[in-house]
Symmetry: C2
Subunit: 650 residues, 2 copies
């Protein structure tokens, strides 16, 4: 191996090759590649390095001579100079003439990711700053990048103007208090700006200022002078819970089309937009999309069919008719005035085997700005687009053009919005798409994946001959099992409150949690028993606490069929539900503590920090729920909830 002069390096530095475009290189060409080592295979004379540089899911194989002076490791950042050649399997690779390690990556320094291991998303999320090094997360970023680009292209090609709608706004559009308030983090400044009789929250801007939940009203104003417009900005919602299913900040696409007065123009546009962009993304980064799909989507959705067929348009009344005819297949009750639950939405999509636009909604279900239908004045020209797995993905409507109608139902602060209708108004319609809509499906599908991983672990364990099953081996297995179980259990705690709404999802329908937990208990008991026996027979082995065995007993199947929380349930039933949920949380806490007890010292500090933060979260949940329960009923003891409930559950 030889080192090139600095000059040559410098010259080549400007022309280093991204791995995504490596295929364009010819055999024999001298190229430089820069990136991170993802994997290493050691042969007698050579090392085979898999290099990734963030430009694609693909790794590039680099062959280099083994050297005593330089020992590359997984995670190191490297520069490689070498010749393009063909590997025996036919792929292009690099025969390195020079390998420079830019910076080592030592796992002993606390690097949290171990090679060749798929880390559960909950674990990865604890290391936000290192996530871009995890391939699955990187793939999501790349898909997002291309989706953003193709969305922008779609609109720009059609003469839409890209508007940056403001994030800071004095409109509390929703009026439901689910907005974030903004003020300078400077008490002194606020004091100096304060005016008599007004709150400090109003001192800086002379009024309360919020983070925008939607740029729609601003877009509507813009469209009245500019024609077709769109915006692609962050939006914010302060939901009354911090579940990861409700995110505070999300990227939202909103568009407003000028001079349209037929709702079908809007559905045609949305369908074409989604089909075009999806096709382009799949063509551009098939491999990344695959990585994401394996995580996000059920295998049974046939994307190709979705993209080829014409999507169905139904009125709300027709949708209700269909659901009524199939009410025996539905768990949730159907009420005309209450709209469609997630279960109903997913049933329609599955039954009709197509994405579905639902139009002509009852006026009372939709916001004030939607246009009263010319066919039926009890309806508005609104659309919801229902998609497989996700349910509602897009919401939109034509906008009410009548000044008097709008003025009768807006707060005084929105007078300007009504005024748009007075000065050369043109008919418009628009829609919004959340980039982060399908959070729940993401978590549920990750559960499925964890389940697979769990299954793999169990199968491998059973296949391994008993000669391999030393105490070290068993303890390592136990640890892996615990790590998987902890994540799986946390995810379940987050998913469970939604069991009612998403009862049709395979995760709930097939009682996935119950099955996995039963398997977990069996395997864990088996390993612990074996370990106990081995260590009892060996005088040098440390004794395992017998508590660890006992706690296993408590893991019944905590998610037996649950009440449907979305339908109005009697108070008593609700409290019962809360108590049951409390039981699950307490179980998780006990399990977590026992898990830590049974682990030997010597884990990196980060390991314990993660455990601690999970414990904190569980405990906060338990405390909150305890308060809920105590406040919900006069006599909770009658329902079996006593101060010793925690002990009983544990």
């Amino acid at each position: 191996m030889s080192f090139l002069s600095n000059l040559t390096f410098a010259r080549l530095a400007h022309t280093f090759c991204r791995i995504s475009s490596f295929e364009q290189r010819r055999c024999g060409e001298l190229v430089m590649v820069k990136g991170w080592i993802q994997n290493i295979r050691k042969m007698k004379k050579n090392l085979f390095l898999d290099i990734n540089d963030g430009s694609s899911s693909k790794c590039l194989q680099v062959v280099t001579e083994r050297s005593d002076s330089m020992k590359p490791a997984v995670g190191d950042s490297v520069e490689v100079l070498g010749e393009v050649s063909q590997a025996p399997q036919g792929n292009a690779e690099i025969k390195a003439t020079t390998l420079n390690i830019l910076c080592k990556c030592d796992i002993k320094d606390g690097y949290p990711f171990t090679p060749r291991q798929v880390h559960p998303p909950e674990y990865v999320r604890e290391y936000l700053h290192l996530r871009p090094k995890v391939d699955k997360f990187a793939a999501v970023l790349r898909v997002r990048h291309w989706a953003t680009k193709y969305i922008n292209d779609y609109f720009i090609d059609r003469d839409f103007l890209h508007i940056h709608t403001p994030v800071l706004t004095s409109n509390d559009c929703e009026g439901a208090g689910e907005v974030f308030l903004v003020r300078p983090d400077n008490e002194q400044l606020l004091k100096s700006m304060a005016k008599e009789g007004t709150s400090p929250d109003e001192a800086y801007f002379d009024r309360k200022v919020y983070l925008s939940v939607s740029g729609q009203l601003a877009l509507e104003a813009a469209t009245q002078g500019m024609g077709n417009v769109y915006t692609f900005m962050p939006a914010f919602r302060a939901e009354n819970s911090k579940s990861p299913l409700h995110i505070s900040e999300f990227q939202m696409l909103e568009a407003e089309l000028a001079f349209i007065s037929d709702i079908v123009d809007l559905t045609t546009f949305i369908e074409d937009l989604l089909k075009t962009v999806t096709t382009q993304v799949l063509n551009k980064c098939a491999m990344d999309a695959d990585v994401c799909k394996a995580t996000n989507a059920e295998k049974d959705v046939d994307l190709k069919t979705l993209l080829e067929k014409k999507w169905i348009i139904l009125t709300y009344d027709d949708a209700i008719e269909i659901l009524k005819r199939h009410k025996d297949d539905l768990k949730q009750e159907l009420k005309y005035e209450e709209g469609l639950s997630k279960e109903h939405e997913l049933f329609l999509v599955k039954h009709l085997n197509s994405p579905v636009f639902v139009t002509q909604w009852p006026k009372s279900m939709k916001p004030f700005y939607m246009k009263i239908s010319e066919i039926d004045s009890t309806k508005v020209d609104a659309i919801d687009l229902l998609m497989p797995q996700v349910g509602e993905l897009v919401g939109g409507s034509l906008r009410e053009a009548n000044y008097d109608r709008i003025v009768s139902c807006i707060p005084p602060a929105l007078q300007w919005y009504a005024d748009l209708r007075k000065f050369g108004y043109v008919p418009t319609g628009g829609f919004d798409i959340l980039m982060e809509e399908s959070q729940l499906y993401l978590i549920a599908s990750k559960q499925k994946e964890l389940g697979y991983e769990f299954q793999r672990l169990v199968t491998n364990y059973r296949k391994d001959p008993s000669s391999r099953k030393t105490p070290e081996y068993l303890r390592a297995k136990l640890e892996q099992l615990e790590q998987l179980w902890t994540t799986f259990n946390i995810n379940n705690t987050e998913l469970e409150p939604h069991a009612g709404t998403y009862s049709q999802h395979p995760y709930f329908e097939k009682q996935y949690f119950a099955k996995v937990s039963a398997e977990y208990i069996k395997v864990k008991r088996n390993i612990q028993q074996l370990l106990h026996n081995l260590e009892a027979s060996s005088p040098s082995g440390s004794a395992v606490s017998t508590e660890a065995k006992d706690d296993v007993q408590h893991f019944k199947t905590p998610n037996a069929p649950l009440e449907e929380m979305d339908s109005p349930t009697p108070d008593k039933q609700r409290i019962k539900y809360l108590i049951r949920r409390q039981g699950v949380i307490i179980q998780s806490i006990v399990h977590l503590i026992n898990g830590i007890d049974s682990i030997e010292v010597g884990q990196p500090r980060q390991f314990y920090e993660v455990k601690l933060s999970i414990l904190h979260r569980f405990w906060d949940d338990a405390r909150g729920l305890h308060q809920d329960i105590c406040e919900s009923a006069d006599d909770v003891t009658a329902l079996g909830y006593t101060p010793s409930t925690y002990l009983n559950t544990a």
Copy 2:
């Protein structure tokens, strides 16, 4: 004129032609155009309508027969169907067969913009929701749209990944309290989530959460797995003043380049980016850019030369040397440790006749993350790009790669940022560009434009024969004069505190305000005298208050050479400055009140609302300044500031 069937309309509705692409249409072709009437010329038989549809600064001429049943007016939204033909001057126009008025725009309903009048920006800003109908504002939106598109294209073409960095962050990067704090606007929710011993501000997120002032640190983390990345997101700053020179929300472009270790790579990239994007924007929307340029830029900047020549790179030390050699041309003192003032920046650019990259900055002047230079350890590898008129437009640096150096100067919450350096770190560098940087120049240039308008008004008035000078004519002129003056005066109040920093700007250098105000006084007095005489001689005329004449006396030249506020001035001098400033504000208030007094009743309600809001703002400023002054010195009376100062000034 004939009306087509609904069916034909519907068929054509999907193929209506945007005016920006009208040139591609052939003579004789049947087209539909939709938009707003900008102007109307009436001939004996025909009407000539100028239609604008927001797609370009250009209007399309439509010829239609005069009709008694349909009277189009400026501001109306219309659909026009007709044949493409050639106007006598050679431009394409439409001979309308059908004209549909979609919605009238009645000025009597309170529409604030009158045809054929350029409205001052301060006035337009009072009608945020109707701004997109004002051509200058629309042109700015279009230029922004294309700049955004070409910036995205530039990065995507070069394999950069577009990242949406978070707006909500728990990093208070600046640590100067100049951040906005975020919490749900729901006291009950906060109470229910509150934990003992922590403030309600931390209840929702378990910590204080702010609006991001920069996505740089997040980008740096992303680049460590993804390679080159960029973001284009809103950023927020809670400056300690609400001057329009400091905006709370702005669009910021930030990029991070992986694997670069030479500052020249960064300057090369920035120069190419700016040249490429500017060229593309100018090519794409020359007319819109012209409209913006007339507003924003001095005529003496030769954009073409800027785009063609190679930009100059200077070290900070060399820059200081040049400035020292020319210290007699500079008003502001030069101190090595204090960096460059705006005047110094603009001098360098003008003197070298090129944009200038200043590199190798003293470490003490720059933030912790910038890389210590390998040539000189007292310097960092930072760059500022100085541009004509704007001063600093881009700031950037290589990033410090050394873990120990970084760890020694970060708060504990940023430990993760240091940790990036431990695990396969690669050398990076990056920069940011604010989209809204040149606010001050915008206002200052608008002043110049107002000055032109003012001059036009005066010239026309002088040219008009005395036979035209009826009382009605004179009162209309007075009103126009007042409107211009009010805006001009407000803008000046905002600009004045920056006179020190921007002393080289022609606005201050040429005492623009003093000149215009002298002219204003002369003309106003002349008109009022004439009006007085006319009405005195006519028994039906109403008498003009003589006060109005008197207040004119007070308009001396309030911006005689000002102290330089940026250089440290003794306390006494500062207070003198504040008192002088107070004088200007009080003058403005008196002027505004007198102006309203001398106007006859019958203005639309909006007119008075605008006046009132301006008055409120002046008054708030005066009150705040009064407090400042009283708090700044023990004995302000010694400086001539007594309770009767207001009266004296007025």
